[in-house]
Symmetry: C2
Subunit: 427 residues, 2 copies
């Protein structure tokens, strides 16, 4: 069978008619499936239900018999810091524990950078003309929204199979002091699922930047979220940057949102002594500390890092068939047609698909009409604008396996129909 | 007996020697009592231990069977909004629920005002020369620290027995567009315990301000915290300001920090539609919502506003004897000597004492040497500087009743000794 591009026009017209038939039949089933966001399923949440009994009226004391019901522990409880220190591979003194959202911690760091500046800089970022961040593409829409809201310009570089295009990154940051940082999701990246290579991480840690106060926002949201094979290991950006003389460069973020309960988890930021001192100094003004009882719940629930890994293996077992279903559906539908490209991820929460240029938004529209909500086209690009209208993000974790299978059937027909029509329109 | 001021010098010297004897005897007992901060005691925290069982693996669903373990409800859950709406006397749509700290909500509102501005203003506050806030004195040190950190100048006005000196406030805000707001703790004020009168609240709501984007930070931290007599009622600033055409002026804050657990409570902000829309618009960028399970715990624990009031009556019963002990100790020690002024509060967490000018810091030093830690002198003033070195804040909630009695004995002797020496030095 020829690829759709190679298909004679008459045959392509016939193919379109067949697809329309299929599409209408699927649409007639009145589905209502949401594949927009990276939400854990109810079954995944059930894995953490023991959290509910981890603290009680008889067990609210922390280390040294401190009453965690009361004020205190502004940067986090000692046991929570110790736990996340092992998770993130940094000393406990380099940990700050926040509320339930690591995005909030990232937003706060950048908001304060705009108003106050950061250690190593000589002024607030807001006072820097054209203050910019590098955004590897495809990326995470919420990262981009933070930049957009704060007035930080976004400079796009390609996210390759082993991380950002480092030749491009190094060239940009060496020349432009107004480039103050880069967004990184180093493991099972959102949305493409790639893992940063040792070489990329080493270059990020050691590169020369014109800005003395350059920051890597190291959003390790999927640090322990493998579902296919062994957990990927990535190099230690904190240690590498310190060794290269850039200890203040990386800020590491993680959370338990997709580990326990997104609505009631724990978020954490790690960094150099200077960075953590700066965070503590600022946040001391705003709060006497975050929810210590919830920190205690989590530490007791996991026990230790091995407990965390065993827990994540259960998540993986629930997620594996869903991601397999996504891959199989696309293999079956797109094979040999040369209209879609993707890499089956081994962890994380998403699958990124590149369709023929000009077909992403139409695919989302068609799928929506047939009862499947997808993340809007453009969401993997700054300002929601994909210049090629090509990249889509699939989020198969929340629906049931059966729903994922139904949704993928609709997605694949929608995508192929959009691509076929695009080719027909191009003659 | 003459007041100390009237005492002949020789007699005063003799009095000092007697006080030194007493002081040394007390110091010799090696006490270690902390009266620095407004922390609930362990017995108070025990009143809320049923919180631990309010949600479980069988009861995590909210209204409409929404799974509160997962993402969502960015501005708060419907039932928590409804509960706080009744508490604060505003419609539920005018409520935003945050994490565990109302101070954090206040800080965030002002931080964003500095960087982005607020509804009704034409620019970020940071771009306004000499941007200022009115600070009624004595006031809350953490409020002042927020201003200091954000670069907001502080203009002091007197806090009288019925609220801020409104003649001074009205004069200032009418003339100066760079004055963007005022801090208010309207009920059982921190630290003096006074309650704002209807007249003061009406004038705050209706006054003409040169700044179109003037904000009242209405920190109703002690809204339900009476321990002596009926709960004080204050007028509805939200309704009054709306009626006067200044709906956006007040931002109301409350929390359960001193109601349930300071380390794991719920904080809330209320305001006009425009203010809440603005808060939602900004916070949407940073978080997908705060801890919904904890919101559910709290709503179930209280049941309704009557449940809250019954709960607070138990707090009151624990606090009453401690505040009575403070008052009795000072009555006994200072009566007729004309060296200390205070008003016994009927709610809240503090007693504010004015000593002879120049005696506050020395009193804190003497008490500290004798084993009683007090809030530093100056903490009720901006920048920690009391120009008269006169005002001290006593925080008797956390120590046991016996400790409060011991601490007050030491405080009273320390204060009288400091005042006596001051009078001797003045000849």
């Amino acid at each position: 069978m020829p690829t759709l591009q190679e298909m004679p026009l008459e045959e392509l017209r016939h193919h379109e008619r067949e697809l329309v038939q299929k599409y209408k039949a699927l649409r007639g089933r009145n589905r209502n499936i949401d594949m927009t966001r990276g939400k854990p399923s109810a079954e995944q949440l059930d894995l953490s239900n023991d959290l509910f009994t981890m603290v009680s009226r008889d067990s609210y004391l922390g280390d040294d018999d401190v009453d965690y019901r009361n004020y205190g522990a502004q940067a986090g409880t000692p046991e929570a810091k110790a736990f996340f220190a092992e998770w993130l591979g940094v000393p406990a003194k380099n940990i700050f524990i926040g509320g339930n959202s690591s995005l909030q911690l990232m937003y706060d760091v950048l908001l304060r950078a705009m108003l106050f500046g950061v250690p190593g800089g000589d002024r607030p970022w807001r006072d820097i003309d054209g203050v910019s961040f590098i955004c590897p593409i495809p990326g995470y829409d919420r990262h981009f929204k933070v930049c957009e809201t704060l007035g930080i310009k976004m400079i796009q570089v390609a996210l390759l199979d082993d991380g950002p295009d480092m030749d491009a990154v190094e060239g940009l940051v060496a020349e432009n002091p107004e480039i103050k940082g880069i967004w990184c999701v180093p493991k099972y990246s959102n949305p493409s699922g790639i893992v940063y290579s040792p070489n990329v991480i080493n270059r990020l840690a050691g590169m020369t930047t014109a800005a003395p106060d350059f920051r890597i926002i190291w959003d390790n949201a999927y640090a322990v979220h493998n579902f296919d094979g062994n957990l990927a290991e990535i190099d230690d950006i904190h240690a590498l940057a310190s060794r290269a003389g850039h200890a203040d460069r990386p800020l590491l973020f993680a959370s338990t949102s997709k580990v326990t309960f997104p609505g009631a988890g724990i978020a954490v930021v790690a960094g150099s002594d200077r960075n953590i001192d700066d965070i503590v100094r600022h946040t001391t003004i705003a709060t006497i500390g975050h929810d210590k009882l919830n920190q205690l719940r989590h530490v007791r629930f996991f026990g230790n890092i091995n407990g965390l890994k065993q827990h994540m293996a259960k998540h993986g077992a629930l997620l594996r068939p869903k991601f397999a279903a996504v891959d199989e559906a696309m293999q079956k539908a797109f094979s040999g047609k040369d209209i879609a490209q993707w890499v089956a991820p081994k962890g994380g929460y998403f699958v990124s698909v590149d369709l023929l240029a000009g077909c992403a938004a139409e695919t989302v529209r068609l799928a929506d009409e047939a009862g499947v909500k997808l993340t809007p086209a453009g969401s993997c690009h700054p300002y929601g604008k994909d210049p090629h209208d090509r990249t889509l993000r699939l989020a198969p974790t929340y629906p049931t396996l059966s729903e994922v299978e139904q949704a993928m059937e609709i997605f694949c027909v929608s995508a192929e129909l959009a691509c076929t029509r695009k080719l027909l329109a191009q003659g």
